[in-house]
């Protein structure tokens, strides 16, 4: 009671201090560091660049500042000798609690002010994909909670040591651990959460939940540590142990401390977000399981019910087997380690099953014994919160299940059959999934999902047919545009939040132009079915990929920032063309990982093709001015660059500076020098038509399975030219 009475007074006193105002002011400004210096979220979505990075930077800087404030404020009364007056009136333990509450309240006020100050700035920078919920959650979780954690850590250090210098050293060491050794451990990096990307359009439920779990685990742990340090507060002229012995006499105090520490330990050990997959990424145990003899799968189906409010999945899976072995067989499935399996029945009778503790590539192995009868109908129920792979724990967020978007891949969608060969017709599959009304189900293959029921609770049940042991399903609030181009129907799906950006960039026209042009000049996409092709904008994934009948476009390629990148095109529509041309030049095994010392990459052919399309659309003068002249200018500048002419100086710079400069220089070589070289090659081989024939042959060449990538030498050979021929000197 006394604590509550004293709290407003201590808070008022705290805000009378100039140091407090300085710390509050600097903390409010600290998100700017994330726009300039400290950018842990490497993805190029608008929310990563203009929300995640400022919020994380604000959390790091603000956390450190509030840690310093806590140490100085804890020492304030002792330093100014007011403690002798205060201690005569109230217990030092009461004052420590009051001071902690005041510091926490100051941090809450600071975060609230920071959010208000940065709201218009963030909204302006992020543009049409800005969302209030993302903004609030990002600032609360990525920034806000680091402040109370720092306060608890720093105040604990002071209460243990009673020395400012030692407390500062301890706090600095604790913060440094998070920023260095623990930076790649999502559960330990308490100050700088592992957030590599925030999606603009496809919700961030999973990553926010992951950060919240980490923050709360640490918050409880630090509250426990603070409580222990509270018990060490010196009283009656006694030392640390004398005070501890006296303070623990109120039994509830050590019990609270112990309970908090146990809770945090449990939260750490029993986290539900990441599995225990074998960290050895060369391990292939599950892929080496021999197929069972005399058993084939003749069909499978699943009814899937995602609970978008909590991000979990429940489902029923059914498999039809033909067992001609006349004996019981062990059938293996890959299941997501977060799932619980129940009610496993063969032909309506319970059968034994087990789930391995060993996990590999985000799967645990479910083994079921099927009976020695020819026709077996195996059914099972699965449910739980899907876990992500341990090996990808710093890049969480791919298994998103929210009311706005979901992505269910393979064993997350339903148990994946591992050791049973398909029957004559493959693995005929029927998937039914019940989704919120606003969501459109998009199977990542050529099949079409259709609504089979509109349920009373406002959900819709979708069904689609496929033929595989696994499968990927995307669903979200998508806009669908059907575009006739290149002799096929393109189903172009993009997130509703991107509608304004897509429309202003003329996305539909760009798709049509690209598909028409590239199909005519280079040929059909290998993954098209001949009739339809799905182009699906997906949650940020660090790149796109394709399968039969569908191709994934990373949302990061369609941000307002990227569409304004002048090196990719003369305007948003032209950058859109550039990104779509990557469907021909850049997907799958077309190019190896780019070499920073070489201009050869997917970008050269993509920029060149973009130039050709733009030339066809807007004329030669326009294309020359916005492409060729700009490439030439950039290349001329490149060869005048100090570090290009004096590479020895570059080698003497710090590594991060070297990487930054090398990155910028490589960018010019890939996006400007290579297109110029291809343009020169075009002139040397006899013009555009000849070059189109060469590129057509390269696009449709026969892959070498040992090294399936298109190399610069192969391009030169196809042109009949040497590297010297394409010299730009």
């Amino acid at each position: 009671m006394k604590t509550l009475c004293l709290f407003p007074l201590e808070l008022r006193r705290l805000f009378q201090s100039r140091l407090t105002w300085l710390i509050v002011g600097l903390t409010v400004l600290s998100p700017a560091v994330g726009l300039i210096l400290y950018k842990p979220a490497t993805a190029s979505t608008m929310l990563s660049m203009y929300l995640a990075n400022p919020a994380i930077a604000g959390g790091v800087v603000g956390g450190i500042l509030f840690g310093l404030l806590s140490v100085f404020e804890s020492d304030r009364a002792t330093r100014s000798r007011v403690d002798v007056l205060i201690d005569a009136a109230v217990s030092p333990l009461t004052m420590a609690l009051v001071r902690l509450l005041a510091l926490l309240a100051a941090s809450v006020v600071t975060v609230a002010v920071t959010m208000l100050v940065w709201l218009p700035i963030s909204a302006g920078l992020i543009g049409s994909v800005f969302g209030g919920v993302d903004y609030i959650l990002a600032y609360l979780l990525l920034m806000g909670l680091s402040l109370p954690m720092s306060i608890l850590a720093a105040a604990s250090a002071y209460q243990f040591t009673r020395r400012v210098d030692l407390s500062l050293v301890l706090f600095a060491a604790f913060a440094a651990l998070s920023l260095t050794v623990w930076a790649d451990d999502w559960q330990l990096c308490w100050l700088n959460p592992c957030v590599w990307a925030l999606s603009d359009d496809f919700s961030n439920f999973r990553i926010f939940r992951s950060v919240a779990w980490m923050r709360l685990t640490w918050l409880v742990a630090l509250a426990g540590v603070w409580t222990v340090s509270y018990l060490c507060i010196r009283q009656y002229g006694k030392g640390v142990f004398g005070s501890l012995t006296r303070n623990v006499r109120r039994v509830y105090r050590p019990i609270i401390a112990l309970a908090l520490l146990v809770c945090s330990g449990t939260a750490y050990a029993a986290q539900p977000l990441v599995d225990s997959s074998n960290p050895d990424q060369m391990a292939m145990t599950f892929y080496e399981i021999p197929y069972v003899e005399g058993v084939v799968c003749t069909g499978r189906s699943a009814q899937v019910f995602p609970d978008t409010s909590v991000g979990s999945v429940t489902g029923t899976a059914s498999y039809q087997f033909q067992n001609t072995s006349d004996q019981e067989q062990n059938v293996a499935f890959g299941i997501n380690p977060g799932y619980t399996i129940s009610n496993v029945q063969a032909n309506g009778v319970n059968v034994p099953f087990s789930v391995s503790d060993y996990q590999e590539y985000n799967e645990a192995m479910l083994e079921v014994t099927i009976p020695a009868v020819e026709q077996v109908e195996l059914t099972m129920e699965y449910s739980g919160f899907p876990q992500e792979s341990y090996n990808m724990s710093t890049m969480q967020g791919s298994t998103e299940i929210s009311s706005e978007y979901l992505c269910l891949e393979n064993s997350v969608l339903s148990p994946r059959l591992m050791n049973v060969l398909p029957g004559e017709n493959g693995y005929p599959t029927t998937i039914e999934i019940t989704l919120p009304e606003v969501m459109t189900a998009i199977p990542f293959n050529s099949s079409e999902a259709e609504v089979i029921a509109e349920n009373e609770d406002g959900t819709k049940t979708w069904r689609y047919e496929a033929n595989s042991a696994g499968g990927i399903l995307y669903a979200g609030d998508y806009v669908r545009e059907d575009i006739e181009a290149g002799g096929i129907t393109i189903e172009f799906y993009y997130g509703r939040k991107h509608q304004a950006v897509m429309e202003s960039a003329g996305a539909v026209d760009a798709v049509k132009s690209v598909v028409d042009y590239c199909t005519e000049h280079y040929g059909l996409l290998s993954f098209g079915t001949g009739e339809t092709l799905k182009l699906i904008q997906s949650r940020v994934a660090g790149g796109g990929y394709a399968t039969d009948g569908a191709s994934l476009l990373d949302e990061a390629d369609f941000t307002a920032d990227n569409l304004g990148d002048a090196s990719k095109g003369g305007g948003a529509g032209e950058v859109m063309i550039h990104e779509l041309v990557h469907q021909w030049w850049g997907l799958g095994n077309m190019f190896d990982t780019s070499d920073p010392t070489s201009p050869w990459s997917a970008e050269g052919l993509t920029v060149y093709t973009t130039y050709r399309i733009v030339k066809e659309l807007y004329g030669e003068d326009y294309a020359r001015e916005h492409y060729v002249n700009q490439w030439q200018q950039a290349v001329d500048d490149y060869y005048l660059d100090f570090y290009v002419r004096n590479p020895d100086y570059l080698a003497n710079l710090p590594e991060d500076k070297q990487l930054e400069i090398t990155g910028n220089l490589t960018y010019v070589r890939q996006y400007c020098e290579m297109p110029l070289k291809i343009l020169k090659a075009e002139q040397l081989v006899g013009g555009e038509e000849s070059m189109d024939q060469i590129l057509n042959s390269l696009f449709n060449w026969e892959l070498d399975p040992m090294y399936p990538y298109l190399t610069y030498q192969e391009f030169l050979d196809a042109c009949g030219l040497t590297e010297e021929d394409l010299s730009l000197d």
């Binding site: 004293l6 006193r13 009378q16 304030r76 100014s80 007011v82 007056l85 205060i86 009136a89």
Partner: protein, 286 residues
């Protein structure tokens, strides 16, 4: 209010024995002067009384109850001015007193604050930041915070240090008035302060009580042991403690205390200071 110290011992972790078998009874209303040389144990005793330290032996009883059980009650009834204290410089005088009033659990403290500000003559500085105050003004803020809420038990450790003579007289009167219905313990080196206001005196040295009683009784102990003589007449005498040397037109006049005065000394009427010094010197000789 009554405080009893029963066989009180205090030994610091470094082995220094600050108090030894101390027995005292302090009863309201009274203004008790606590005297003793440096290192006698006065500050330790005060820290024990405000529960800043815990005795290593014996007991402190507050109205018959052990201090350990009545610590919260005692703190709510206590006004304490330590010798060495600080203030929050960023607050104004009124804000600081408001802060201290809240710590003491005083509700509706505005009137109380105005009263203590008036009592210590700081009305003009009520809204001034503490960092702008002089040393004497800061000392007055310290006294004001001790007086907040009219506590029935007040402890002042060297309260008039840093005050000018006029202020000292003002505060002596204030303490005197305050002690009319309360228990006030005044520790000071300034015998004059004690002489003018205290109705009880406790003298301690080396952690032991040497004397408890009225100032008159203390003076009585020194009758016949205080003498004056010319310095030129003085010889080297054992046990003679010179307490004052005054330059006069006829030479230097010395005042001294001793168990047995030398023959050349003229017996004088003892003052409280003489009696105190006599007591201390006698203890030192033993």
């Amino acid at each position: 209010m009554q405080i009893e110290l029963q066989d009180l011992n205090m030994t610091y972790p470094n082995g220094k024995q600050a108090l030894q078998h101390l027995n005292l009874a302090l009863k309201a209303p009274s203004l008790i002067g606590l005297l003793g040389p440096n290192g006698a144990g006065k500050s330790t005793l005060m820290k024990l009384l405000v529960a800043a330290l815990m005795p290593t032996g014996g007991a402190i009883l507050v109205d018959g109850q052990p201090l350990a059980k009545t610590e919260h009650m005692l703190k709510s009834k206590l006004g304490y001015l330590p010798q060495d204290f600080g203030l929050f410089d960023e607050l104004t005088v009124a804000q600081f007193l408001d802060y201290m009033a809240a710590l003491k659990g005083l509700h509706d403290s505005k009137k109380t604050i105005q009263e203590v500000i008036r009592a210590v003559n700081l009305e003009e500085k009520a809204k001034a930041k503490i960092r702008t105050l002089s040393g004497g003004q800061r000392q007055r803020v310290g006294i004001a915070q001790a007086l907040l809420g009219n506590p029935p038990f007040l402890i002042f450790d060297e309260p008039t240090v840093g005050l000018d003579p006029e202020e000292r007289i003002h505060f002596r009167n204030l303490f005197s008035r305050t002690a009319q219905d309360r228990l006030v313990l005044l520790s000071t080196h300034i015998i004059e302060d004690v002489q003018s206001v205290c109705n009880q005196i406790v003298v301690i040295d080396h952690g032991k009580v040497l004397f408890t009683g009225t100032p008159e009784k203390l003076i009585q102990t020194a009758v016949g042991h205080v003498g004056a003589f010319w310095e030129r007449d003085a010889k080297q005498e054992q046990g003679l403690h010179i307490t004052a040397r005054v330059n006069t037109s006829q030479g230097i006049r010395c005042r001294a205390v001793a168990d047995r005065l030398p023959t050349y000394a003229k017996v004088e009427e003892p003052s409280l200071e003489d009696a105190y010094l006599y007591l201390i010197s006698r203890e030192a000789a033993q």
